[in-house]
Amino acid sequence: MVGLRLVNISKKAGKRQILRSTSLEILDKELFVIAGPPGAGKTTLLKIIAGLIAPDEGEVYIGDQMVNAVPPGERDVGMVFEVPPIYPNRTGFENIAFPLEIKKMNPESIKERVEEVAGLLQITHLLKRKPTTYSGGELQRVALARVLVRKPRVLLLDEPLKNLDAKIRERTRVELKRLQREFGMTMVFSTHDQLEATAVGDRIAVINDGTIEQVGAPEELYDSPKTVFTARFIGSPTMNIIECALKQMGESWVLDTSDFKVDVTKRVQAIEREAMTSELLLGIRPEDVILLNSPEKGRCFEGQIELIQNFGDERVVTVRVGKVSLNSLTGRERVFRYGQKVYVKFKEEKAHIFYRKTSFAVM
């Protein structure tokens, strides 16, 4: 197992720029996640690592070796596709054995390896059957077995959980993480689901429209997003982002959204000079939006409940304060009604501030 490096990779397809000079470093034995909305360039990035697509610019390093000129078959990279490449005209065994067949391994060794991997992934019962009888989850596991049987040095997975039912997805992501841990594989995983990304990844690269917004550990991205996109992408329900302006009120400084205000006196130093009067964005996560039944001392604002979503152990309540709708995450002990009047209070120290023009966070 080795680390990976991508340096200034660019790729265009037709008129569209898919990747814009992206660079990434993935450590040996790391479970690295590339997360972003559909069309961001995740699949293209993975295919460039695998060698199935050649970048217009930039270099790919696997370990210390620059592999731009190395054909995909010789890079020793395994890839699990969104659509599992399982041939219906061959049995499970034959499908898994396929790569070893190509390498002209002898039949006894092939048998040994295939059975080993099948046992690992608990699919021994599928070996004799043909894939037309497999369920979605089983297909993915056989596809994974086919890749693992080669013992590649890097494992790429392109949205592997996308086509699975919600419950199976939950289980499979834990299985994947366990496998990765146990065998110390260098794994690069792509997904559009930020929950999957944070649950599974050691580090995550958030990608949007061909550019990497931020790379970091899940907690880092959650607590300290560097751009508005990352702030919105990571975390569910999505962070509330509201336009505001910086204003001075006596001794203190506040972010004024025209519907409510948030005190930022302690942080005003960090805001750049030019931005003092210019436009900013306030970011506040739903769990930091507190709903009160009656007004308290301190800053709170009147609002009306627009929507209540039952998340089982939690509730997401959408409150309209003036012209803005805010999402609040609360426990289930509180009972709310539609149209109810509530008072909104913020955990001001948890507020995020962004520059409206550049979308970057105030550090």
């Binding site: 419950k167 559009h192 944070t198 649950a199 569910s236 039952n310 998340f311 539609y338």
Partner: protein, 363 residues
């Protein structure tokens, strides 16, 4: 008068019984969700209600009228497909007007009706946009608009949020929720995603293998699951299910599973006759398992952390307790990592007990 009554529906395809015996009612302004894994019969049931499939036996009443022999277009039911089925070459206006024209509504009336509908689903600004240029969320609203323009008595939606990426789904779920409240038509929709069901429905019918396992409000289904299947299906992450037995010792009652012991003396009498000598399954949701670094709760049990999955504001901890794997969900504790030893306390008020054989809840 309920808007929809479904009575003893049964549907057999060649030798496969897709729907075995399904009955339920939907009141005016109510949203009912048919929830279940792939192949449970939910989509077939929906199609029977719509008139796209003929039931082998059973009856469907819309607004008190038996509609078994009534063709789909005459049932006054609106149907929104999984992929919305918007005519790409027609403008939004034309898409909505289409059904009205087929019903030979005079042009002047059509104009008014379309504008009325557009206002309701907030698409007035895009009336001239051709279908193929619409974004997903817009398509969803146009599809719904098209259905409600015909003043249906009932609205049916087939997995409306299935093919959408996670972030967009969050947004559209909230929009759909708001729309439902505003439009107020009796609605039935089908999904395999329990979160969608919980957030959008008033009542949920959990289906499995052609039968309804349980039907009730979202809170009822979440808190009082009647069967193992329902308990496992609802809630993310899934409820912890542990095989166990009750040991009665004088006045004390203890749940035992291998080395795992949980004192449940408080409930001993309530469950004695149903639990003595039987194989049981203990159910407890991850959010009801709390963790602490020190043994603050005298009844807490020692556990080892095997995996941590950060999922936004909270984290999921995979614990090993006496050889069993138990999941706990709570606010992140930075000091707790893989390998840490913690104390896990089970919230007794939130325990579920199931008879292993019958899969029915006994507590």
């Amino acid at each position: 008068m309920p808007k929809l009554v479904v009575k003893n529906l049964r549907k057999v395809f060649e030798s496969f019984e897709a729907v075995k015996d399904v009955s339920f009612q939907v009141e005016e302004k109510e949203t009912l969700c048919l929830l279940g894994p792939s192949g449970c019969g939910k989509t077939t049931t929906l199609r029977i209600i719509a008139g796209l499939e003929v039931p082998t036996s059973g009856e469907v009443f819309v607004d008190g009228v038996l509609v078994n022999d009534v063709p789909p277009q005459k049932r006054q039911i609106g149907l929104v497909f999984q992929d919305y089925a918007i005519f790409p070459h027609l403008s939004v206006f034309e898409n909505i007007a289409y059904g009205l024209r087929v019903r030979k509504m005079p042009e002047s009336q059509i104009e008014t009706k379309v504008h009325e509908t557009a206002a309701l689903v907030d698409i007035e600004s895009i009336l001239d946009v051709p279908g193929k240029k619409l974004g997903l969320s817009e398509m969803q609203r146009v599809a719904i608009g098209r259905s409600i323009a015909l003043n249906p008595k009932l609205l049916l939606l087939d997995e409306p949020l299935s093919n959408i990426d996670a972030k967009a789904r969050e947004r559209m779920r909230a929009e759909l929720g708001k729309l439902q409240k505003e439009i107020g038509i009796a609605t039935v929709y089908v999904t395999h995603d329990q979160l969608e069901a919980m957030t959008l429905a008033d009542r949920i019918a959990v289906m499995r293998n052609g039968l309804i396992e349980q039907i009730g409000t979202t809170s009822e289904i979440y808190d009082n699951a009647k069967t193992l299947f329902v308990a496992n299906f609802i809630g993310s992450p899934s409820m912890n299910l542990i095989d166990c037995e009750v040991a009665y010792n004088e006045e004390r009652a203890t749940l035992k599973s291998g080395d795992f012991n949980l004192d449940i003396t408080e409930f001993a009498e309530t469950i004695r006759d149903k639990s003595e000598g039987k194989e049981l399954v203990l159910g407890i949701r991850p959010e009801n398992v709390s963790l602490d670094l020190v043994k603050t709760d005298p009844k807490a049990i020692e556990a080892e952390v095997q995996l941590v999955e950060p999922v936004g504001a909270k984290s999921i901890y995979h614990l090993k307790i006496s050889g069993l794997t138990v999941l706990a969900k709570g606010y992140p504790m930075p000091e707790v990592n893989v390998g840490s030893n913690v104390w896990a306390a089970f919230n007794k008020d939130k325990l579920h007990l199931f008879d292993k054989k019958t899969e029915q809840a006994i507590f």
